[in-house]
Symmetry: none
Subunit: 159 residues, 2 copies
């Protein structure tokens, strides 16, 4: 597996194409079918490329709209200098998250000056037991994990 450009697959080419645009622009807005046509692949392959290569972990956020004039927009975000705390918290959460552990995490965020008091209470409201309760404590813990990870990912970048 020499790092020869010739043996790149099409997904890699599409990735490279988009990243070249993103080297000069904060964001790129595409019509899915256009890019698919440009590389002669089915439209859903664009989703594959986005899902595997433009994730939030890599510092991209993706927004889209369907219908007439629809689009996919990929935006580069500036990651914070010190995201180690966030990354290790995300790593530690896994699939499920208890109420108790979630409170520990929020406390850690606050202690590390990653969020302020007001943000503490917004986050606690978002994962409040009564809000996300599903009459199934396993599902509740899964939901809490998902929401917390989503918020932690958001805190990884500026703006």
């Amino acid at each position: 597996m020499g790092d020869d450009m010739a043996d790149e697959n099409i997904s890699d080419l599409i990735e490279r194409y988009l990243k070249e645009i993103l080297a000069d622009n904060e964001q790129v807005k595409i019509r899915r079918s256009e890019i698919a046509g440009l590389f002669d692949v089915v439209p859903s392959q664009i989703n594959y490329v986005i899902n595997t290569r433009f994730t939030i972990q890599n510092g991209y956020i993706v927004e889209s709209k369907r219908g007439g004039g629809g689009y996919i927009r990929i935006e580069k975000v500036r990651l914070l200098d010190d995201i180690d705390v966030l990354d290790s918290l995300i790593e530690a959460i896994g699939n499920k998250l208890s109420k108790r552990d979630s409170e520990t995490i929020v406390q850690t965020l606050y202690n590390n000056d990653l969020i302020n008091r007001r943000e503490v209470s917004i986050i606690l409201a978002a994962i409040d037991k009564d809000a996300i309760d599903l009459n199934n404590s396993d599902l509740t813990d899964i939901m809490r994990a998902n929401i917390m990870i989503s918020i932690l990912n958001r805190l990884r970048y500026e703006g």
Copy 2:
């Protein structure tokens, strides 16, 4: 292919046109067929734009009259105080909440200076589709409603 806005759909253009007028005026009074002619669309598309983009949740009230000299008037409403904004938003949510409506609500919170940009994005992260998805779109909308109400209630006494 950077951040150009040239390829919006017509409904977005009409929305933008009306909001530009509303930036300088408390209200805008139009003749439906005139605006339709201006953008070369059927008159009922104006209703579509109004119903999807100038709802009460977004801070507009719409009044109209048929017959000769008929019109549509869009008015920006000024909600009395913060509690009123929160109460009417909570009232409007009900049992389920779509992604689109949730974005409108967050926008309204921001427009009324109840939350800042960072809080906007934390809240959006908390109700992100991928975070709260349960492979059942009805349940997703219920979950989104619950979380949003929980957050709005928190803001209600958080100041």
